[in-house]
């Protein structure tokens, strides 16, 4: 069986950053991804990132992706593409498919950076062609350059719903409305302001009652919600749309960690069940680390920092860094990550992460 020192599953922002850190420390890294191209969701992100200017804020996401790819190439990271991992087994054996064949890889350490998946929302008409995840619409416009429709209803006002609405307009579609079940907009006001300036109405305390159409989306009926989230009769309105995009949150993609036997905990703020982990991103299995959305749904900038952290800690456990050197590197990453988790938007995630780490430590070897 093929062997490697550190295997990283998922070549998104967290996996790439982790690979770079392990390779920089002198480790041998194999990065595995199911897609034909590394980068995860980064290449769909055509907007300028927020954050600290020292860490590429103001740079468009796909350009950050290019920089990460170049670093992994320069450092000689082995990348296996078109290789979905379908199982993790005892003795750190990774099973994956490549060109229709089952393959095995054994690693000393594994970093799982599989990301998250979009949450569904149930309503009559959801199976009609033209109803899709906002992430799918974003892939169509920004990766495949195909417009999913001309008249869009966006459901959900988190940053994903706001940003994808903006990008659909940049791609030439009209966003007829954005609706949000909660009484407040979930994402950043500046993202909301951009789509408002383009004439998009935002209806808070509204949901979709049904999507209308026989063979495809021909319209959508929306309705106002009261403060107990119940539909208010008589407030229905029908919107002339041909596409409905759903952006109602993400759930960590944790199957491989479950299969491996990592201990889990349930943290709604972080998207649901997440593997317990310590400040080194190490799970309850000492050879298994996690990074990015699998450890709690956040943003690409925090995913990259968590990837770095996992990579440094993993290198330390392989003896590639002295404990002193590793401590210094990890401190820098934590300082940057704490910065990203400040303010009213980040505080909840920081508190959830801290309490998760605290309760996990008892369960760790």
């Amino acid at each position: 069986m093929k062997k490697t020192q550190t295997a990283i599953i998922g070549a998104g922002p967290a996996g790439l950053a982790a690979a770079i850190e392990v390779a920089k420390a002198g480790g041998k890294v194999t990065l595995i991804d199911e897609n034909g191209r590394p980068g995860g969701q980064l290449f769909k992100q055509i907007h300028k990132f927020f954050g600290s200017r020292e860490h590429r804020a103001g740079t468009r996401g796909f350009n950050i992706g290019q920089q990460l790819l170049k670093e992994t190439e320069d450092l000689g990271v082995e990348v296996l593409l078109d290789s979905p991992v379908y199982g993790l087994f005892p003795d750190n054996i990774i099973s994956y498919l490549h060109q229709g064949k089952e393959q095995g890889l054994q690693a000393e350490k594994i970093i799982i950076a599989t990301g998250a998946t979009e949450n569904p929302l149930a309503f009559p008409g959801i199976t009609l062609p033209g109803v899709m995840g906002a992430g799918a619409a974003q892939t169509m416009i920004n990766v495949n350059r195909v417009l999913p429709g001309k008249k869009i209803l966006m459901i959900g006002s988190g940053n994903v719903g706001l940003i994808v609405s903006y990008q659909l307009m940049q791609a030439g579609a009209e966003v007829v409305a954005l609706i949000e079940g909660a009484p407040q907009i979930g994402g950043y006001g500046v993202h909301a302001a951009k789509i408002r300036r383009a004439g998009v109405p935002i209806y808070v305390s509204h949901t979709v009652k049904k999507v209308i159409g026989s063979n495809e989306v021909e319209g959508a009926e929306i309705v106002a919600l009261d403060n107990k989230w119940q539909m208010i009769p008589g407030t229905e309105q029908v919107l002339d749309v041909d596409t409905v995009c759903i952006a109602v949150g993400l759930t960590p993609l944790t199957e491989l960690a479950w299969m491996m036997g990592c201990e889990f905990t349930f943290v709604p703020t972080l998207g649901g069940h997440v593997p317990k982990h310590n400040r080194d991103m190490q799970t309850t299995l000492s050879d298994v680390y996690i990074a990015g959305d699998i450890s709690g749904v956040e943003e690409a900038s925090t995913a990259m920092e968590e990837g770095r952290l996992a990579g440094i800690a993993c290198s330390e456990s392989l003896g590639l860094y002295s404990p002193e050197k590793a401590a210094e590197l990890k401190r820098d990453v934590w300082n940057r990550m704490d910065t990203l988790r400040t303010g009213s938007f980040g505080e909840k995630r920081r508190d959830a992460k801290e309490s998760l780490i605290k309760q996990s430590i008892g369960g760790l070897a």
Binding site: H47, K48, F49, F50, G51, S52, R53, A57, G58, T59, R60, M169, Q170, E174, P183, Q184, I185, Y188, G189, V190, H191, A192, A193, K194, I195, R196, R197, A198, G199, V200, I202, V204, T339, L340, R341, T342, G343, S344, F345, G346
Partner: protein, 169 residues
């Protein structure tokens, strides 16, 4: 009534008045100046370094609202394309006796041409007035964010923040 950016997606008059990124009425009378319409404590600070005159401060923590030193601000507008939130504008209220200039970021195609008469919209994208495009900047350093200036009747300088997108009502 606008209850605020969290409810409507548009900063309210009160939010803007209380923001340290909004220049005083006195300063607005004196000449071109930046309006930073960033009213939430998000972790972001590229604007701070974007200003060549040190007129914008975020400091620590990074979630502080950007604060405009209106005496240092020359109204050059180089911060506009550097804000990832597209939340900075430049206003020159007394451009002529009757007209003001409003400069804003714009990331849609097609771009308008200099000299073109365009419908200008407010923070809800609603038509306010016709205006004349006086400049369209799109250098490489702006990384895809165009910066457009429109000349409009002076009384609308507080409202106009964009051009209405083509094909929109």
């Amino acid at each position: 009534m606008n209850k605020g950016v969290r409810y409507t997606g548009m900063p309210s008059l009160e939010e803007l008045q209380n923001s340290p990124g909004t220049p005083s009425l006195e300063r607005i009378e004196k000449g071109s100046v930046a309006f930073i319409e960033c009213v939430q404590d998000i972790p972001c600070n590229p604007c701070e370094k974007a200003c060549p005159f040190g007129a914008i401060t975020v400091g620590n923590p990074i979630t502080n609202l950007p604060s405009l030193d209106e005496e240092k601000c020359t109204g050059c507008g180089v911060c506009i394309a550097k804000c990832p939130g597209l939340a900075i504008f430049r206003i020159h209220k007394n451009y002529t006796d009757d007209t003001a200039l409003v400069e804003f970021p714009y990331e849609y195609y097609p771009l308008p041409q200099k000299g073109e008469e365009v419908p200008c919209g407010d923070r809800a994208g609603e038509f306010v007035t016709m205006g004349k495009v006086s400049s369209v900047k799109n250098p490489k350093a702006y990384d895809g964010t165009s910066v457009i200036t429109v000349e409009i009747p002076k009384e609308f300088y507080k409202d106009v923040r964009t051009i209405c997108r083509k094909g929109m009502k």
